[in-house]
Every structure is written in structure tokens, then in C-alpha cells.
């Protein structure tokens, strides 16, 4: 995940897109996933470029990408937290974690904090139903999280960012 714009981003998008054959619609999701992996989000520019490469309308691509929780359209923060909101995690209190995170980070789910340090998303299932609630912090899994642990976690993460 990185934090950049402009020429460099355009080149990155281009490098990824040229790996895929033109006009093959079935490549859409892998292509979007790769761009998201590289850029941390799907910028408008990438969607337009993918559309012209695969012969799809941007509306269709946007419609598809919004269907899946894995895609985001605003840059993610330096630290990206995903909270599982699947049935099992929900039963074990993931809503409390979401509320606590919103309060601590002063950021709504799906948004990025103003200083670009934090972003958090709600995802539907991470496949760790036995260990719920599950959250990931920059792809590192935390299991059996309770909402009381959140302030401590955020404090630690802020400390890491400040001393990075």
C-alpha cells in the first residue's frame, strides 16, 4: 500500500493493465484487485483506464466494484483496519468495535482520517468465524477483540506512526 498521486500512479496503472489482454471481460475482478493491491484504492483514473482496456462502461465497473466490500475508492490511510461484520462476529459484538473505532478515530467506516493516518472498513466475512470478532490491522489479524481493547490498540498504533 502506498500514498501517491500523479504521473507515478498513472504509470503504475498502465503497467498493471498491460499485463492483461484487451477486451477480456472475465479479467475485470483480478485486474481491479491488482490495482487496489498496488494503490490501496481504485482511483477514477484507473476505472476509466480499465474500462477502455476491457471494453466496459465505467458505470458497469463502478457498479461491480461497489458490490464488493474489498474495493475502496478513496485512498486508505497509513494504517488500514478492517472489521469483520459477518454473522458470527456480529453475534460476538463487532458492532461495539465499529462504534468504538468511529469514536476513537473520529472517522466513519469506509472513510480515511483527515491526516491520512487511519482508515477503516467493514467487511462481511474474513473466514475466522470461530475466533470472532476478528479485525485486521494492515493485514495482521487480531482475534477475539473486545471493544475495551480498542483505545489501547489505537494508542499503540498512533505511537508507531509518530515514531516511524
Amino acid at each position: 500500500m502506498c500514498w501517491y498521486f500523479g504521473q507515478e500512479m498513472t504509470e503504475d496503472i498502465e503497467n498493471i493493465i498491460t499485463k492483461y489482454r484487451q477486451g477480456r471481460r472475465e479479467d475485470l475482478i483480478p485486474l481491479l484487485q491488482e490495482i487496489q493491491e498496488r494503490l490501496g484504492h481504485l482511483p477514477e483514473e484507473a476505472i476509466i483506464r480499465v474500462g477502455s482496456h476491457l471494453g466496459l462502461s465505467t458505470t458497469k465497473i463502478y457498479g461491480l466494484a461497489t458490490f464488493y466490500d474489498q474495493f475502496r475508492f478513496i485512498p486508505s490511510g497509513r494504517i488500514h483496519i478492517s472489521v469483520c461484520h459477518g454473522t458470527s462476529c456480529f453475534m460476538n459484538g463487532s458492532q461495539g468495535i465499529i462504534d468504538k473505532l468511529t469514536e476513537e478515530l473520529k472517522t466513519a467506516p469506509g472513510q480515511t482520517s483527515r491526516n491520512g493516518n487511519f482508515s477503516f472498513d467493514i467487511v462481511t466475512c474474513m473466514g475466522g468465524c470461530y475466533h470472532g470478532p476478528v479485525i485486521t490491522v494492515n493485514d495482521e489479524y487480531h482475534i477475539h477483540v473486545s471493544q475495551d481493547q480498542i483505545p489501547e490498540l489505537i494508542r499503540k498504533l498512533k505511537y508507531i506512526i509518530e515514531n516511524d
Binding site: 477514477e44 462502461s57 465505467t58 458505470t59 458497469k60 463502478y62 461497489t66
Partner: protein, 573 residues
């Protein structure tokens, strides 16, 4: 192959391969549908048409299930009725209850279903959708709160218009219909054709109203209120008001419009004649120079926008002629203003059109002269019908009055232009008349009157061969591109965004099936066959107009005002 099935303990005949719904409908059994559109593959999304089939555990959707020989169907069993009722109740659970103020009041499919299924209370309470009103487009308004997510607009935009400006955004409870990046409509690739409005079952999509604006000006005494209407408008009004249409109704409409308070009533048909004449000039010039590139007719504003955004390569081949409405509009603001001895800004010029994109065209860049727009306000046929009702006019007891000169008469080619292929026919007729000096047979281009989305033919006009292609609905563009790539040369190409042409425009009353469209087309062919003048340049209005034009100042007499420019548009495709 016919076989017998049992429906509600009665035997009916069904055909192999058809759906349950079509077998039922043919035998006079009506079941409600919602997401279904004729001529489209069924989706079975709304589940309104469910029926009970004995031996099947679950209810099946009649619109998508093929009928089979062993079937015993119950269409109105308690289980089926409960299921349908629940579906409508769920649709209503988050629907705003403002039917009284809605565009589609008394004409709404959801309202009808709710009435048919005898829903008398709000049993299920859902969280109301956050109302979002998108008025950014010059022609179409989206009211997302009223959307029931049937997906008809999405399918029409993708499969009929090929623009794909709309799609489902997000999922689950957050799903809504939106454009790319969920931006407002004016940033999207929408070409304002209005086909989505024609299929919307509720009031979620409707035209941008100009009625209030028109009313406001009708009350002003220091302006001249001029109105022009397209040749198909009288028939559309008759359809909307439920009157039997005959040819005299055109004259009645003139009287009706004067009763409403318009000072001058003009016919857009005269503008069409000029449009055809200008196009014929451009075509003749191309033919003389042996220019092989096709001349694209630009009378359909939706097609023009499509070309500008999706096919920028052909912009140099687009003719520069404005659409008939704009030609008539600019004449009203220049020549008529001079005749009436009023300043152009003291004329309020309204146009009534079966088209929704005309609302957009009237606001286009280049449709203005010295800061005064050619047409001030565009009403759809539906809006004019509303205006007629609003002013309480008895349409049955009106006199027959002629339209006002100099834009009163028209040739039958101008009527034909409302059909897909008609404008091309008019242009070829005129070129042939100019070359040979005698009136060509009215059936000269009969070959081009088919029903496919792409039609072409070659005509001999006074020794010259003219190759004409007609694209009927934007789905035909693919075939045109293929033909051009294969090396076929065309001299004249007419493209209409709506399948069928202006008779299927977004501003006309909603039609149930293709048969209604055929009836509309028949009306037009009839008037083309029976009317005396078929050549635009023989129409008396056109001739007197040309005489007057010659006496005007340079800019008008050399017909520059009838032309505009087109340029590449950057939108999110």
C-alpha cells in the same frame, strides 16, 4: 407444438418453448408483472408474477419458467396472493407516500399493483431511503427515493441505447441506481434520450418540467408568446388525452394553443423542410466533389451527443445543420421578430416535441445568437397535455385554425422525418428532384422502411447513385461500423437514438408494445401518401420563407444561422 395444461382447474392450450406467462396471457389469464419488459429476456427479479405449480415446492416465476406438459398451475391461490401482496408491501415499506404530489399519480405501476392487491395499510415499516434528487441533467430528473430497483432503466440503457449510463451501485440495503462514480447525471454518458423514463414503473425518473416557467411567461403581457410543435405532437396529444386522432386535429391543436394564451403558433415542420434542404445542399456538394466520406444527419440531439462522446473520429463527417426545432427557433427569434417589430428578447419561444433530448439541445453551446437562445423552453408531449388540462380546455369543442405564417405549412417529408429513416428519405427525394427536375415516386426508398436496427439501400437519382444507410436505434451502430470497415461506402447516414425514431421518443405517452409503435408509424406513412406536397422545396411556406430570407441581412440570408458546430465531449464513458 400445442399441448394442454391445467390452469386453475381449467384446460388451456400452451405451445412448446413459451413461458408460463405468455401461455396464460394468450388465454386471457392476467397476472401482475413488474420488472418484465416485452422484447427483453426475462430476469425474474421482482417475483411479482409467481404462480403455484403442483409438484414444485417453491413458487415459480411465470415470466421466466418455460411451460411444460405435465404442469397444473394455480395463478391465484391464497399462497400466491399472499406472496405477491407481501412483495408489494415490502416495496412500499420504504417508499415515500407522496402519491398526490408525484409525477406518476394515477399512472403508476406500483400504485396500480397496490390497488389491485387490495393493500390498505402499511403493514411493514422500513427505514425510508434518504431522498436524493438529481436535477443536474437538463432533461431527466432522478428521484432516488421513489426507485423500487426493478432495473428496467439499467437494461434499456444498456441493451437498447448502448450507453450504459446507469447501473446498480452498492448492494443489499444500500443498493441504488446510479451513474459512474455515483456522480450526478450531467457528468455521465447519458444522452438524454429518455428511454429510461418511458420504462420506469414509478416516478423515480421523469422529465425536467418546464411547465411552471411557461406558465410564468404566459402571464406576462410585454412578451410575445410563440410556440412551435413537431408534426407528430398532435397525434401524441390525442393519444395522451384519449381522443381518436384524425388529420384535422392538427388544426384543432392550433386553436387549443391559442386558447392557452400563446400569441403565435408555428409548425416545426417548416424547420424540418429547411433542415432537409440544407442537408440536401451538403449532400449534393459532397456528391459533386466525389467525396467518399459519409454525411451523418445531425437532427437527433441524442445521437449527436453520443457521437461527440463515443465516436469523436466521425465529428468532421457530421453535418453542421441544426435540428428542425432549433432552425424554427432561430427563425422565430430573427425573421419573425423583425416582422412583428419586437426585440428578440421580447419573444418567449416554446417548443413542443416528442423528444426529451430537445430539452438538452435547446441549452447546447452554439444554439444561441447574440446571447439570446434560439428556443427558450421545451415541453414534452406529456407536459403539453398537462398544460391543456391545467387550463381546462375542452378539446372536443375547439375550432380549426391554421398555424401562423411564415412557419405554417410543411411538406409530407417533414412528417416522415419523425420516423427512423424518414429524414434520409426526405433528403434523397429532394436531391433527386433537384437533379431530375421531376417529383420522384414517394415509394422511392421503400427498401429503407424495414424494421431492423440497420438498413441500407442504393438509389439512383438523375444518373447519380446515392447510397443511404439508416441506423434505427443505437444498437445498429455496430453493424454500420462493420459495414464501413468492410469497405462499404455510404453517402448519407441517418442515425436515430431511439428505436423507431421520434415516434418512440422519451416525451411521448408510454406505450405498451411494439404494436402501438407500428400504429404510430402507420399514421405517418398515411399522411405521407395522402398529402399533396411531398417535396420540401415545393411547400408554399418554404418558398415564401426563402423569398423573405433573401431580403434579410447577410448573416441570415446566407443561412449561417441554420448551422452549428460539434466538438468532442469528455464524459465518463
Amino acid at each position: 407444438m400445442l399441448f394442454t395444461i391445467h390452469v386453475n382447474n381449467r384446460k388451456i392450450k400452451a405451445e412448446k418453448g413459451e413461458t408460463i406467462l405468455s401461455a396464460l396471457n394468450r388465454n386471457g389469464i392476467i397476472i401482475p408483472t413488474l420488472c418484465r419488459m416485452k422484447e427483453f429476456t426475462p430476469t425474474g427479479a421482482c417475483r411479482m408474477c409467481v404462480v403455484e405449480v403442483e409438484g414444485k415446492e417453491r413458487l415459480v416465476t411465470a415470466c421466466s419458467q418455460p411451460v411444460e406438459e405435465w404442469m397444473r398451475i394455480r395463478t391465484h391461490s391464497p399462497r400466491v396472493i399472499t406472496a405477491r401482496k407481501t412483495i408489494v408491501e415490502l416495496l412500499l415499506s420504504n417508499h415515500p407516500d407522496d402519491c398526490l404530489y408525484c409525477d406518476r399519480n394515477l399512472n403508476c405501476e406500483l400504485q396500480n399493483l397496490s390497488e389491485e392487491l387490495n393493500i390498505r395499510e402499511r403493514r411493514i415499516k422500513g427505514k425510508k431511503i434518504k431522498p436524493r434528487l438529481d436535477q443536474s441533467s437538463p432533461a431527466i430528473v432522478r428521484e432516488l427515493a421513489k426507485c423500487i430497483l426493478c432495473g428496467r432503466c439499467v437494461r434499456v440503457c444498456e441493451e437498447v441505447i448502448t450507453c450504459t449510463s446507469l447501473d446498480f451501485i452498492n448492494r443489499g440495503g444500500q443498493t441504488h441506481i446510479g451513474t459512474a462514480m455515483d456522480k450526478d447525471f450531467n457528468f455521465s454518458s447519458c444522452i438524454q434520450c429518455g428511454q429510461c423514463v418511458l420504462v420506469c414503473p414509478t416516478g423515480a425518473l421523469h422529465e425536467k418540467y418546464n411547465i411552471t416557467e411557461v406558465q410564468e411567461y404566459l402571464n406576462k403581457h410585454d412578451v410575445v408568446k410563440a410556440i412551435q410543435y413537431s408534426p407528430f405532437v398532435p397525434a401524441g396529444i390525442a393519444e395522451e388525452l384519449g381522443i381518436r386522432y384524425n388529420k384535422d386535429f392538427d388544426k384543432n391543436l392550433n386553436a387549443i394553443l391559442r386558447k392557452i394564451g400563446f400569441d403565435k403558433v408555428y409548425s416545426t415542420g417548416t424547420g424540418t423542410d429547411i433542415c432537409i434542404s440544407e442537408l440536401a445542399d451538403q449532400l449534393s456538394a459532397k456528391l459533386e466533389k466525389n467525396d467518399e466520406s459519409p454525411l451523418y444527419i445531425t437532427a437527433c440531439p441524442a445521437w449527436v451527443k453520443f457521437a461527440e462522446q463515443s465516436m469523436p473520429d466521425i465529428i468532421p463527417c457530421l453535418s453542421t445543420v441544426k435540428s428542425p426545432q432549433q432552425i424554427a427557433g432561430v427563425l422565430i427569434k430573427t425573421m419573425v421578430a423583425g416582422q412583428l417589430k419586437v426585440q428578440p428578447d421580447k419573444i418567449f419561444s416554446v417548443s413542443v416535441s416528442p423528444c426529451m433530448a430537445m430539452k438538452y439541445e435547446a441549452r447546447r453551446d452554439g444554439m444561441m445568437r447574440k446571447g439570446i437562445s434560439d428556443v427558450d423552453s421545451v415541453l414534452t408531449v406529456r407536459e403539453l397535455a398537462r398544460l391543456i388540462r391545467l387550463y381546462g380546455i375542452d378539446v372536443y369543442n375547439t375550432a380549426r385554425e391554421p398555424a401562423d405564417e411564415p412557419l405554417a405549412g410543411r411538406s409530407s417529408s417533414a412528417v416522415l422525418a419523425e420516423l427512423s429513416g424518414g429524414l434520409a428519405e426526405g433528403v434523397v427525394r429532394l436531391v433527386s428532384y433537384r437533379l431530375s427536375g421531376k417529383e420522384p415516386d414517394r415509394q422511392l426508398l421503400k427498401k429503407i422502411r424495414g424494421s431492423g436496427s440497420f438498413r441500407d439501400c442504393t438509389v439512383k437519382a438523375g444518373g447519380t447513385e446515392i447510397r443511404v444507410a439508416v441506423v434505427d436505434g443505437l444498437t445498429g451502430l455496430e453493424k454500420l461500423t462493420n459495414a464501413l470497415q468492410a469497405g462499404t461506402k455510404y453517402n448519407l447516414v441517418e442515425v436515430m437514438a431511439c428505436p423507431g425514431g421520434c415516434i418512440h421518443g422519451g416525451g411521448l405517452p408510454k406505450i405498451a408494445s411494439r404494436d402501438d409503435l407500428k400504429n404510430r408509424a402507420r399514421l405517418i406513412w398515411q399522411s405521407d401518401e395522402t398529402e399533396a406536397i411531398s417535396i420540401p422545396e415545393k411547400s408554399p411556406s418554404f418558398l415564401s420563407l426563402c423569398d423573405k430570407l433573401a431580403n434579410e441581412n447577410m448573416e441570415i440570408s446566407d443561412k449561417r444561422i441554420f448551422h452549428t458546430h460539434f466538438e468532442r465531449k469528455d464524459v465518463l464513458l
